[in-house]
């Protein structure tokens, strides 16, 4: 199983009476794009939160590159090469877009030197380059709290990519992005990630995006994985169509 990057085994987590994870077993393969679909409240975000150290499972464990990461802090997990983006973009509202990205780039090598701008000015160029690839150059100097939802979303993902992770977890990367721009955005994102050989897990509600970009799809339902496999196979499953896609289409 040398090609498994992240392995979750028997994850359980309950909030009050709600089982947000009720025995999750999932292996993420190196290099793949894995989509997570399922109705709201099925525990998709909870899985990302557990994988990045924000929540700790009641039972079960997660290993990354063979070593256990359950119980580690978000900070320690980032250092191992797992980054994430957020359903609600988590930007530094009073910084410009470029500053947001530049801070993420700089944080890779530790931020402790006040002399960084003089000694390693390269981090700003790298940030600009990233902005360029994400098509954000035009708004590089806008304050993050002045952006529209789609741009905020992209900047949020760009910050995660700036950390040069080997595994990227994205929580609804295309929600808030205008329908007309959606495919273009995902296209760009996929290219950036493939160039950098990043493995990606993304929660997605748009089945067209899933069908086109995911190598595999995991269907979440009430804290469990109801189905797992290639998109064509999973999405054509009548049960999945009834329980998940039906809901999605009407949502």
């Amino acid at each position: 199983m040398s090609d498994v990057l992240l392995q979750a085994t028997g994850l359980r987590l309950a909030f009050g009476g709600v089982k947000a994870a009720d025995g999750i077993d999932l292996g993420v393969m190196k290099g793949e794009f894995l989509a997570i679909i399922g109705p709201n409240g099925a525990g998709k975000t909870t899985f990302i939160n557990m994988s990045t150290g924000y929540l700790r499972p009641n039972a079960g464990e997660i290993t990354y590159e063979g070593s256990r990461i359950t119980g580690l802090s978000p900070r320690a997990i980032v250092k191992r090469g797992i980054a994430r983006s957020f359903q609600l973009p988590q930007l530094f509202a009073e910084h410009t877009v470029e500053q947001n990205i530049a801070l993420a780039v700089a944080s890779r090598d530790g931020i402790w030197s006040p002399l960084t701008p003089l000694l390693r000015p390269g981090y700003r160029d790298e940030a600009r380059d990233l902005l360029d690839r994400f098509g954000l150059s035009a708004i590089a100097h806008a304050r993050a709290d002045a952006l529209n939802e789609g741009a905020r979303k992209l900047a949020d993902i760009a910050m995660a990519v700036a950390l040069k992770p080997r595994l990227l977890l994205m929580d609804e990367p295309t929600s808030g992005v205008a329908a007309s721009e959606k495919m273009g955005v995902v296209e760009t994102l996929a290219r950036v990630l493939r160039d950098a050989q990043v493995t990606a897990v993304f929660v997605e509600h748009d089945m067209d995006v899933v069908e086109r970009f995911a190598d595999r799809v995991a269907v979440w339902s009430q804290g469990r994985i109801a189905a797992l496999g290639p998109p064509q196979q999973v999405l054509s499953d009548p049960a999945v169509q009834r329980d998940v896609i039906g809901i999605e289409r009407h949502a």
Binding site: N49, Y54, F86, Q87, L88, Q90
Partner: protein
């Protein structure tokens, strides 16, 4: 231990009684500050000035009326009415003219506006009442003293400090809890405290709630001052001392918590008076030590609720 009690028992008894009465005063002031913070989200630095002005006004009104034949028994209601008057006049003025303009501003700006108000009121107070100590204790003298049995001995203590101060504090605590939980206006105030946006969206007139709450908080500060005036001479600086102590109570209790404020006031009142009798150097330090210890164990305060952020 037994021997220590033999020597210091009476002193301890006196410290406990003193602590109880000062806890009553601390509570009145701190709960007003806490209420205002809970609803307006503003830490009112000038709350201590309202306390001082309440104290000076009550003493002046008392002296004025006593000179015109006010019977001694009426001096206690006079204290309370003076406080209500001070709060009813200054509260709306401050809220309408000043605070209203800064609700949307950053926390530091709000804090500084009330700090500026504090600076202004400190001088107003000095200009009106001078710097000489003022003392008017008819209320306390009229009620006389009582011998409180303590072990085999008796401790003489004023009825005013033993019954009136803790009594009014308890009535305030119970009344406030009843008001906030059982009356419509009270529930509206609580609704604004817990979720301002939702409350406003439901059609609650936040401006009115703010005005009402601030005025009531100002009355409580003035009441604390007025009730303290018979027990000690009034000098400049009492407002500054009172506000820092109230800050400590509010942070220790947890923000917006009434019962927490009561318990914390009791701890700090007792802690401080025990220090006064046994280790006077520590008097001023004790409240902060209590605060630091509590926050070490419960970072959100005794009764505070942790706010979690969704990601």
């Amino acid at each position: 231990m037994a021997e220590w009690f033999q020597d210091n028992g009476l002193l301890l008894g006196l410290a406990l009684l003193d602590g109880l009465s000062s806890a009553g005063l601390i509570f009145l002031v701190a709960v007003g500050l806490n209420l205002v913070f809970g609803v307006l989200r503003i830490i009112n630095v000038a709350h201590g000035s309202l306390y001082a002005i309440g104290a000076y006004s009550a003493a002046s009104i008392g002296i004025f009326l006593s000179g015109r034949g006010l019977p001694d028994w009426a001096s206690i209601p006079t204290l309370i009415l003076s406080a209500a008057l001070v709060g009813a006049i200054l509260g709306p003025i401050i809220e309408r003219l000043l605070l209203r303009r800064i609700y949307a501003q950053e926390e530091v700006v709000q804090l500084l506006v009330t700090f500026a108000l504090f600076m202004i009121l400190e001088d107003v107070q000095k200009l009106l009442w001078g710097v000489q100590p003022i003392h008017h204790d008819t209320a306390m003298r009229w009620l006389g003293t009582i011998d409180v049995p303590f072990g085999a001995d008796f401790i003489p203590f004023t009825n005013y400090q033993l019954f009136v101060l803790p009594g009014i504090a308890i009535v305030t605590l119970v009344g406030l809890a009843w008001f906030l939980r059982r009356t419509l206006t009270g529930r509206v105030i609580v609704a604004v405290t817990t979720d301002r946006e939702a409350a406003t969206a439901m059609g609650i007139d936040a401006a009115k709630v703010f005005l009402l709450t601030f005025t009531f908080g100002a009355m409580l500060a003035a009441l604390g001052g007025a009730l303290s005036s018979p027990t000690a001479a009034l000098v400049p600086g009492i407002g500054a001392q009172t506000i820092v102590l109230s800050f400590a109570v509010v942070a220790t209790a947890g923000l917006g918590q009434i019962e927490g404020a009561a318990l914390t006031s009791l701890m700090m009142g007792l802690g401080r008076s025990i220090a006064v009798y046994f280790e006077p150097e520590l008097e001023v330090v004790v409240p902060y030590i209590i605060m630091v210890l509590v926050l070490l164990v419960r970072p959100q305060g005794l009764f505070g609720v942790i706010e979690t952020r969704r990601v």
